[in-house]
Symmetry: D3
Subunit: 303 residues, 6 copies
């Protein structure tokens, strides 16, 4: 359960309205790596966490912080839009280069749809969606996703920092940059801690390492014609997991047979000339019907 | 430019058809971390790479390999669908528990739309889309995204490995597992190499560290009621970047003013009672019009 | 079955081209509350209506009217784009502030994709989709959705009315505003009629009122720190349904146990330390396997 | 800013696992009218509210409550999936009707992607997205949307209540049903209060009523052949707004001219035979070029 | 403007309910090539048509017919769902193989969301969207798209015809198949007519044929290792347009320089080592700033 | 399996940066008919092809070529963005009409998200998705889709050709136009070849022609009021398939019964007044329960 205070986590006080920048800031609200994404990513990871204790507690602390960041960006956008020329006509725009510059870069939905506030979308107006989040249940894999999300987020924030002169906006972004720095460090530390606690190895998941075709777990397949891909530590020596040995495969050959789909079910009307053998019907009751073969394939009585 | 051979990178030879599993495999083809994602993620990173040499060459080698993996999964799905009971009616399903078990778990579009082959979608039939990829131009941030993608991919592959008994399918997945292992190790090694080459620090981007509010770059805000989030190395000692010092903020207070959107433009018809001051009109030509203030805000002649 | 006349329901005669406004009008065509939405919303409600008579007839009358509104907006957009500077280069834009003002605010797809006509998308170019419609089969719930859709639509139309000076465009919008007024009144009247006919109560659905935990059906949980949420009629007195009594819960406590996901299936490789008990395997045939418990859980022979 | 307690708002204790039902419950989590929708709808309405006081406080109270509902449903889904036969093969399914029944109805991504937990998607696996929310800034319009959302939500919850026999699940749903009842009543009361406070009329927005073509603001256009659409109070008497008079238009005629797009810009290569007049070029500098007309159309020096 | 009669274009009378088939039929309603697609594709083409006369009249006739097909499929789905076991629990499913077979293949949203009716989505529940339609304004290109849409639609209808034994469903599909046959023939005839009328050539658009690099307009680039791609009429002789000559390029070489993105703007923080020259700043006012070069690039005073 | 060379298929050398045009070019990269679409469309068709030989070889040759086109457009976009004023503030834009013209037309995500490179989206920033491709398995239907895709692509390329003055960009587009010309001719030739080889007829699929209601396979239903739709060869004479005879149905009547959904399951709470008969419950075990009828409907023991 959650509680809320109307006080913002940090100051959100633009000096002046700037509707063009208000559109760009949508990227930090509803973009792939905006605040909505980390909020829901961490909440879902926390609720799906299978252990009590420090990891779950950490995730829930940070998730709860992030909802407050959504609030900050949403508030900033509304304030940057104050007095925006939402209802100016093209005629007015043409009369004044300043208005033209502003109108051309605005998000029309911030005026038409939201009445001067943010939408739950990115800087091109594409709505945020649930596939932006990563919560797979394996903490090593998820924490790498978290590091990546915070890194892309800080990168975008830094770019946006260079797109404004407003001291109030910059002040808020200095806070966001700092939190992104901490969160990157924090997830990296959590990865170290996971390993120290013996809860993961280097790759995720640390399972089936005995089953995988180990001869293919250390080779770089050289398939483009650049000449220097053999000159990094990924191509020689021991892999970061301390187990595998890297090597460079300068001219790899295809190891599999020819590609090709099987003869089609005639009732699906794929074009077919018989070159791949007799078309297999799925019709039941006929001796040649594939249904019998399907049943045999999944026969529970077979060993 | 690309060239293609019909030979597959590795064997794709299911022992028997299994249309239910063919649906699940869609996740590795068109899911958020399927082969389409890493293919396009690496291609876009490579084409957008701003340096010649080993990093670009590495990315292009791996990107080109991944297209071949899309080919493998697509071929496997078609082969698993051979003779699938695509055209069986519900009547037939009801007559035979085996058919019922199969029909219930199938993807109807693999039959109706693709004629017995894969679609470019995930295991729930939701189409792959371009927002699944990450290619931000900063190699540290992108390589963390690559590690994360390979980790989630290996995790999903491992789960799928446990969902089949077919030795042919398992053989192919053993190859995929091995490649995911290598690719995780490879991107981790590339991150080490980036740092060794002085091209990045620990957080991405390594910029604006002087500008950010540094007092907020090391603190864990305790906002949920779990009691153990202060017991990891993220809450004490030096951060992984070697610069910041971690600390725990047990009862953080909101640092900002009250949230709230400004008074609205009357022409947008937001509900308003005047409690936040005079509504600001964007109408031009009037003295009180906000347009004047907007112009002033972005006046190029001001210092 | 439908029939069509080429004559428009109302005049669509812009005085002059205005490609910037043509983009904004897309919101009324393919936006969440544009004409496509009400068209398909009412058609699906009508086809899914389970009664003959006045309600179904009303819905089909209005649905059929709305297709004509799609036609009007689509035609208006094409006419506003006549002679639009679709093929002007950036060089030309830079030479002339008027062209710059126009080019910056245009939808590039109206030129590149549609050849000077509308697309089936909103003012940011995001395509209309089937989840925009609401047709749940319960007329009270659906009619509330219809009131809401017409209200948002009239709101957006009113905002757009203030964004143009073109008398021809304004004339058409005066018609749209009037129809939105009628349709709001109409659905409100239909809700009254539903109640008068005894086909619904105040909440939807009027069912399971005896089953729900009635002690939670009248309380406002105070979870933010604003001080005035207890000062409306939602917090005291009798509820609009005439049955429940409103009250204010100033400091609600969580009524449930601790959140937390159960121990994971080991074959899914979620990170786990055993803190929540023995991991439950879904493997069949083993005594501890959860499959047995699943079967028991859904045992048809149990009472 | 938000704070969180690990205790759930209400008990979430299914008696037994039921992975088929876990899929259906996704509708209440990530569906169009699931808990994610009302959470973000109310948060965005609250942050975008232009008044201090009871309305904003109410919205924030309820929004904060709803995040806790997301937590409840997410937790319930994870618990219903405990020991789900996620890794059973089709062979196993075919061996046992119980397993077949379960496997056919499961969401494969809950196993493959989330590791036995919920996804941020609906019961068909389609991800939640930001266009599901409505926050237009006009409280009357938004509150109607809120009533509608709660009504559809209660309707879906009631249907889901009838799809399970599990007493633990039913107990939680009794709570959800009660909250949906209260929230419907609450928003209806808030609409009454808005009117009592003079902040809105009956239709939204209460503006431009003088500008709209009033003769079209009270007529039902009879365009389908059902015979009873004139028999409701929407077709006679005074409209709910107390201002307009309803009437029935039994055989409406099209009031506009013929539909039709204008002659195309030749550089866009639309097919054209000249039947609608001279094609208008947008080329600059030529006398016949339309660009001149566009400039004239938006000439700021014209009155 | 449109009018509607409640009578269906053709009989829609399933003999018996079949909820599994009701899900599959969604493909013909809301799938990429379902009735919604052709309805909106033809309507948008008709409204965007730039000529009066037979082509526009034809398009509008067929578009209007297609809305009636949406009505037919929507009605069929509702009827196939009559008495569907929407509220059966998993327990019931496990008790009866027939129920299990049915439940596993159902669309849960048809019950939970639509109350026993269709949704505006495909057979996997993915919503229809506006990008499914093609209306580019060039009739030759659009008519080819129409032929393709009708062909895919007939293909899917034929597959669905083989998936049911219900004589009532088959009777309706016989009508749909016939209409798809006619519509394919019709659009092919319309293409012939376009050419006979001199309104198009063989490729679309028939423009810029003098400007294109004609030496690349007849060659098949052999880039895969199949050996027979030179054995079709696409590799020899005169092309269908009667102008170009086909030829086979057995071992094509890349004609362009090396791929590679330029040095980045330092303020965007892309990783860069200087290997591609001096990073170009977009900062204004500096001599080396790229902004000066951008301005020069689009200098209107240059010839 | 694929191999890659860093050399581009053709020169990609813009003379000068043009960030506005870089946005428009996104349409050819990630739009519905951009290079991503044809790449994945042909790859999926090739992998799903059910015959060895010339058709499969042709498809794979062209598919492999198209990946190289994606590379070309992606590279061109990055080069057009060199030195783009990505980080200019609105203040700078207002100071200079050139910058204003540029900023208004830019894609903000190309700077914020991609760091000065392309995104995998269209010219409005909407991401590419897997439903854009068509690969149904029937070569006649698929080849018509291919002709259509190449025609729309060439149309869009031609429009874009008219939107730039840059000789380097035009040079590349001349190559793209030529390839689009060849590919249209090529697929048209392949359709002829399919027929010559006896692998298809005129409509797709060439099946069930005996089953369809043949009396409806040649008639144009006149449902709009245009007067000339009977004046094309689609309304008279023999159809292109050489079998059917076209005719014109000047005043078609609805052939079906009245539309209408059946009485609802009471447990779904659709509004119902009993006018369509007794509501049918799906409850098991009751005599009137529909479940019994469902079982009967799909009784396997019935003939």
């Amino acid at each position: 359960m959650f509680r809320h205070t109307d006080h913002l986590q940090f100051d959100v006080a633009p000096e002046k309205p700037d509707p063009v920048y208000a559109r760009k800031l949508q990227e930090l609200l509803g973009g792939e790596f905006g605040e909505m994404t980390v909020t829901m990513q961490y909440l879902m990871q926390g609720w799906n966490c299978r252990m009590d204790g420090k990891y779950k507690d950490l995730i829930m602390d940070v998730a709860t912080e992030e909802i407050g960041h959504v609030e900050m960006i949403a508030t900033m956008i509304a304030r940057l839009l104050e007095g925006a020329p939402a209802t100016e006509s093209t005629k007015a725009a043409a009369a004044d280069p300043v208005v033209a510059a502003v109108l051309g870069g605005m998000d029309p939905q911030q005026a038409i749809v939201s009445g001067g506030g943010p939408t739950l979308a990115d800087s091109n107006g594409v709505p945020w969606n649930g596939r932006f989040i990563v919560a797979g249940g394996n903490l090593l894999a998820d924490f790498y996703s978290n590091v990546a999300a915070e890194a892309q987020s800080r990168l975008q924030t830094a770019r946006l920092y260079n797109m404004t002169d407003d001291p109030g906006v910059k002040d808020m972004l200095k806070f966001n940059l700092a939190r992104d720095t901490y969160h990157q460090n924090m997830w990296l530390a959590a990865i170290e801690e996971l390993k120290a606690d013996g809860l993961s190895g280097t790759v995720a998941p640390t399972a089936l390492l005995d089953e995988e075709h180990t001869e293919h777990a250390g080779t770089l397949w050289h398939l483009s014609d650049g000449t220097q891909s053999d000159q990094g530590r990924w191509a020689t020596g021991t892999a970061p997991d301390g187990v595998h040995t890297n090597s460079f495969l300068p001219d790899p050959v295809a190891l599999g047979g020819k590609a090709g789909a099987p003869p089609p079910d005639p009732q699906l009307y794929d074009t077919y000339d018989g070159s791949r053998g007799e078309p297999r019907s799925s019709a039941m009751g006929t001796e040649k019907g594939l249904m019998g073969k399907v049943k045999e394939a999944i026969d529970p009585h077979k060993p």
